[in-house]
Symmetry: C2
Subunit: 247 residues, 2 copies
């Protein structure tokens, strides 16, 4: 009888070519499957809750694994942490119904984007923050970010190479806050288009720089035109922060 | 006319064999001298405020540099940051009297030691925190840490291979605090013996584990016996945090 398990991990994506197995570099999925193979003696297929780009991090990422092996979930977590590289940690494992699917059953995700906002470099922020030297008016940007909330067609906030058909998403909240030199962009939606968070951050930064007009986000969203939105912020500031299932 | 400059830097020590130039690996001093050579066209000698071990970090580290070149200190900071690797940042540069010496004139240093105190691994703490899984009673350890304060002969808290003669140091404060899973050990003294902070942390952890008796620190210190103190905590949790000159 096949069983199905939902596994929660966290990873520092610096040294990986994203989640999904691909030919040109080691990915998180591959490293995790290597670990599973060492423990279960079998290379099980696993299904991630989303793809993440090279260099993107996850404070929380979920995948499901169907296997004929009977697992003790608690021991599986310990065993995986003993064999995985230090930049990937297994946080939890629970049995789920056989038809549970980590991607299709996901009802929402929260991303954070971390900015180190200071003229001074911080050697401890390399690969984990976007270093942004110009001043950011956080209250202004936070009010602009509210335009992302609600249900919109986000086609203009989707990388051109994506081929999704339905580009309508519902953003539940979107905030920009400051903690000393750290500026945090946080967004939750029922789903995200390819590069949607990074383009949203890049667009806000261009509003901050005066390159995109204040209060023009509604028109930019309505235009469905990628060229009207701002640049794509680099991957290393981005973290998948929470993954939601059910209500 | 030779000028003398005091330069403040910060660095992630993960990829370095400590500060001081040595034959078996690249050091921070070397990387900084490489940068200076590129900017001034001359490999100037520089004198650090202390040695740090391989893997130890610095939120603040000072060195002085005597040079016949006339510097614009503000431009020097910018130029250095443009050529240095990402894990070293120059924060400040000021001209100082010719006889100023970064080590001899230092009147105090503050170190912090960072512990990630959780049964769960955190991939973002690799190389920057000691991952310590057992529970820590922070109030108890903080009260034990007070025994380090004051003027003592710390010979028992000095690595055997050190050859310093005067092992008396004055600790101004020593605290253990918690911020969620993060436990921070902080200590300021007029000077530190080789591995003194790491042995102090290792000893407190052994008190936490019941391997060393509570309230026995005064006798351990008085014994001057390295064997009576606890283990040497690993280098990657340690940060030189502040360097003091003058009063």
């Amino acid at each position: 009888m096949l069983k199905n398990y939902l596994v929660t991990i966290a990873y520092d994506g610096t040294d990986y070519h994203g989640w999904q197995v691909q030919p040109n570099g080691i990915t998180v999925q591959q490293a995790v499957q290597d670990g599973i193979e060492r423990i279960l003696g079998k290379r099980e297929n696993i299904t991630g809750c989303s793809r993440t780009d090279a260099g993107v991090h996850a404070n929380e990422f979920c995948f499901n694994m169907r296997t004929e092996k009977e697992l003790n979930p608690f021991r599986f977590v310990g065993a995986m942490n003993a064999v995985l590289p230090d930049d990937i940690a297994v946080k939890n494992c629970v049995e789920v119904p056989y038809d549970f699917h980590a991607r299709y059953d996901c009802t929402g995700k929260e991303y954070v984007y971390k900015i180190w906002n200071s003229p001074q470099r911080n050697p401890f922020c390399n690969g984990r923050y976007l270093h942004y030297k110009k001043e950011i008016d956080v209250d202004m940007l936070n009010s602009q970010a509210q335009y992302f909330c609600g249900t919109h067609d986000f086609q203009g906030f989707c990388a051109a190479k994506s081929s999704v058909e339905d580009t309508v998403r519902t953003v539940e909240y979107c905030t920009v806050t400051r903690n000393d030199e750290e500026v945090i962009f946080k967004i939750k939606a029922d789903g995200f288009l390819y590069n949607m968070v990074r383009i949203a951050v890049g667009t806000l930064l261009e509003i901050s720089e005066g390159k995109i007009e204040k209060d023009s986000l509604p028109q930019i969203i309505d235009s469905l035109d990628r060229a009207k939105a701002g640049r794509t912020a680099p991957p290393h500031g981005l973290y998948l922060n929470r993954v939601f299932y059910g209500k």
